[in-house]
Each structure stands twice: as structure tokens, then as C-alpha cells.
């Protein structure tokens, strides 16, 4: 039999982008993105602790930057990433170790709802001073 030409479809980026996604796919994609972002954050965390080697005053001076509203908003987003990654991590443990695969959609919905509640609760805690000033 003569060898004929075949078309190799291997293009995982394209397939990932245009395949129809359900809750499981979104959970996986967001888990990857938040995971990579949290690794990047770890480097930044160690970098921002480095002024410790120059003494207390230098460290406090450096830390004062993080109390600006911009960095507080970033921290709130960081909290959202940690929340999603940890809640979805629990979901994955339940899928692999309990019968979570039978309830994976419900588990995804619950983790999103719990995550949103905790996200806004944390927002209130972080910005309570600003919110208080707003309605004074």
C-alpha cells in the first residue's frame, strides 16, 4: 500500500482555545493561571522581604509603599487568586479521593459561591476604613 499524506492536527493551543468549555475546563484553566501567578507572587514576596537585611527602618520604609490603595487593590486580587486556588484544590481532592466526580458541577458552583462571599467579606475587612469614610 502506498503511503499517503496525513494532516497532523497537533496544535494544543488552538484546540484549547476553540474547544467548547464547561465548568471542569474553566476550573482547570483558572487553576493553572492562579497557580502560576502565585509562584510569581512568591518571588515578589521574597524580594519585598529583602530590605530586612538592611535593618528595621529600611524595612518599614519599604513596607509603607504597600499601604497605598493601588497595592491594597492588588492584594485583594491576590486574595482572590489564593481563594480560587485553594477552594478548587479542595474540589480536586474531593474528586480524586471521595466520589466528587459525581458532583463535580455542584462542587464547582459551591466553591465559586463560597469564594465570592469570602472575597467580598475580605474586601470589607481590608477597605472598612475607606468605606466608613465614604458614608460619613
Amino acid at each position: 500500500m502506498s503511503e499517503f499524506k496525513k494532516f497532523d492536527q497537533k496544535n494544543w493551543v488552538k484546540t484549547n482555545l476553540n474547544y467548547k468549555k464547561d465548568s471542569g475546563s474553566w476550573a482547570w484553566i483558572l487553576h493553572r493561571i492562579t497557580g502560576i501567578a502565585l509562584i510569581a507572587y512568591l518571588f515578589m514576596h521574597i524580594f519585598s522581604l529583602s530590605p530586612l537585611s538592611q535593618g528595621r527602618a529600611a524595612f518599614n520604609e519599604f513596607m509603607s509603599h504597600y499601604t497605598t490603595p493601588f497595592f491594597m487593590a492588588l492584594e485583594w486580587i491576590l486574595f482572590a487568586f489564593v481563594l480560587f486556588h485553594s477552594l478548587n484544590g479542595v474540589r480536586i481532592v474531593l474528586v480524586d479521593w471521595a466520589d466528587g466526580a459525581k458532583y463535580h458541577r455542584a462542587l464547582y458552583r459551591y466553591s465559586i459561591v463560597i469564594g465570592l462571599v469570602m472575597f467580598f467579606a475580605m474586601g470589607y475587612v481590608m477597605f472598612s476604613h475607606e468605606i466608613h469614610n465614604l458614608f460619613k
Binding site: 492536527q9 497537533k10 484546540t15 484549547n16 474547544y19 467548547k20 465548568s23 471542569g24 480536586i92 480524586d96
Partner: protein, 235 residues
């Protein structure tokens, strides 16, 4: 009702890359996608190539990507998909295209064979010359035994798309079918085969396989049972 099909065509003798072609015809909401493909092949363009045998969701030949998701063409009714926009028909992802919607399934079957998809039992049969099994033990296997090897699940998995060596959900499901069979004696052998980074541990519980399975098998649940078995046998 007027229906438009956008079909990914590839002729290895002429084309360098696949391209879409559109067909417009009079359809009915109770027609399956396979009926529509037949209509196109018989009335519009005889050169359209696709696999099918039984046309009733048993043989598993006509797995394809319908509106972005893998499914059997014969088990998908027009009323269950969006026909307001053109219906996009593509071959299953990841496997090489031979022509139009026909794929080279060699890789899929090689991985299926790797888990030894047959009963292994070397002990002699008992005096009543049957290998008996209780109803409860048999029920554990019913869901996994429904698999028709259409390759919809394996080719819907992002792990398959990015990793040529990933064994795939269909083979893992078959591994479950025999690992948890009380009559089988090669469970450890099969568990050793799938206990590799490109074996069962490449399953990231993305659940695409469940969404695409035309037999509605909860494949990820079966894989999770294998994961539990693998983790606990080390203890």
C-alpha cells in the same frame, strides 16, 4: 427549516491544510447530524468522506466534533444543537486526518491495547466450568463496560492535545473494567502499566471526557477509583 453545515474538508491529494466548506439544505429538527451528512454526501457533494456503520450509537464510528464538542453524529439531533448559526463539523482533535472527517486511529488503539483489554485468568476453572461473579461485583463493571471506543473522550482531553504519550481516558476506563473484575488476575500488572507520569497521573480531572461521552459514562469517577486503588496499594 433551512440548515447550514460548515464542514472541515481535507483532501490529501490536493490540499496542504484543511479548509471549511459550507452546505445549505432543507433539514428537520428530528434529523440527526449523521442524516444531514448523508444528505450532503448523497445530494450535494459525493466526495465528502466520513466513517459510519450502525448509525444508532452502537458501533462508535462517527465520533466527530459538532459545534466545538466531540460527540457521535448519529446520537445528536438537530433540535439539540444550535442551528441558527452554521453547524460546525470538524474531525475529532489530536489524531492525524486521513481525509475529511476520517482519522488515523492507530495511536488510539495502540494505547487501548497497552492496558491489556482482555480477561487474564490462568487458574483452572472450577468443577461447574464457569467463572462465577456476584451481582454486586458485576454491577461495579456495568458502566465502564458500556464504552464503544468512539475516541470522543480521549480526543477531548487537553492532556491528549499537549502530550502524545498520554494514555487517555478510554484506555484508563478499560483498565478499570478489568482491574475491578473479580474474575481477573492481572490487576497489579495493569496498575503497573498505568502508574506512570504519562499514564493515569496525567489526568487533571478536567471533565471534558464526561461532557463528550455519548454513552454518558462518568469516566473521571472510574479514573478516580483507579487513583485511589494505586495510592492505597502502596500503603
Amino acid at each position: 427549516m433551512q440548515v447550514t453545515f460548515r464542514i472541515l474538508r481535507f483532501n490529501p491529494e490536493v490540499d496542504k491544510e484543511p479548509h471549511f466548506e459550507e452546505y445549505r439544505f432543507e433539514g428537520h429538527e428530528n434529523m440527526t447530524v449523521l442524516d444531514c451528512l448523508h444528505k450532503i454526501k448523497w445530494e450535494h457533494d459525493g466526495s465528502l468522506a466520513f466513517r459510519r456503520s450502525c448509525a444508532h450509537g452502537v458501533c462508535g464510528s462517527d465520533g466527530m466534533r459538532i459545534n466545538g464538542r466531540n460527540h457521535l453524529a448519529c446520537s445528536t439531533l438537530l433540535k439539540d444543537i444550535n442551528t441558527k448559526k452554521p453547524v460546525v463539523i470538524e474531525p475529532l482533535p489530536a489524531l492525524p486526518i486521513i481525509k475529511d472527517l476520517i482519522l488515523d486511529m492507530t495511536d488510539f488503539y495502540e494505547k487501548y491495547k497497552a492496558v491489556k483489554p482482555y480477561l487474564i485468568n490462568n487458574s483452572p476453572v472450577t468443577e461447574d466450568s464457569e467463572r462465577l461473579q456476584s451481582n454486586e461485583d458485576a454491577e461495579k463493571l456495568f458502566e465502564s463496560a458500556k464504552c464503544i471506543l468512539c475516541a470522543c473522550c480521549t480526543t477531548s482531553c487537553p492532556s491528549t492535545w499537549s502530550n502524545n504519550n498520554y494514555i487517555g481516558p478510554a484506555a484508563l476506563l478499560k483498565a478499570y473494567r478489568f482491574v475491578f473484575d473479580t474474575r481477573d488476575e492481572a490487576a497489579d500488572e495493569r496498575l503497573d502499566i498505568i502508574d506512570t507520569p504519562d499514564g493515569i497521573w496525567r489526568c487533571h480531572t478536567i471533565f471534558n471526557c464526561i461532557e463528550s461521552c455519548p454513552k454518558e459514562i462518568n469516566i473521571t469517577w472510574h479514573i478516580s477509583q483507579l487513583k485511589k486503588e494505586l495510592s492505597t496499594r502502596e500503603l
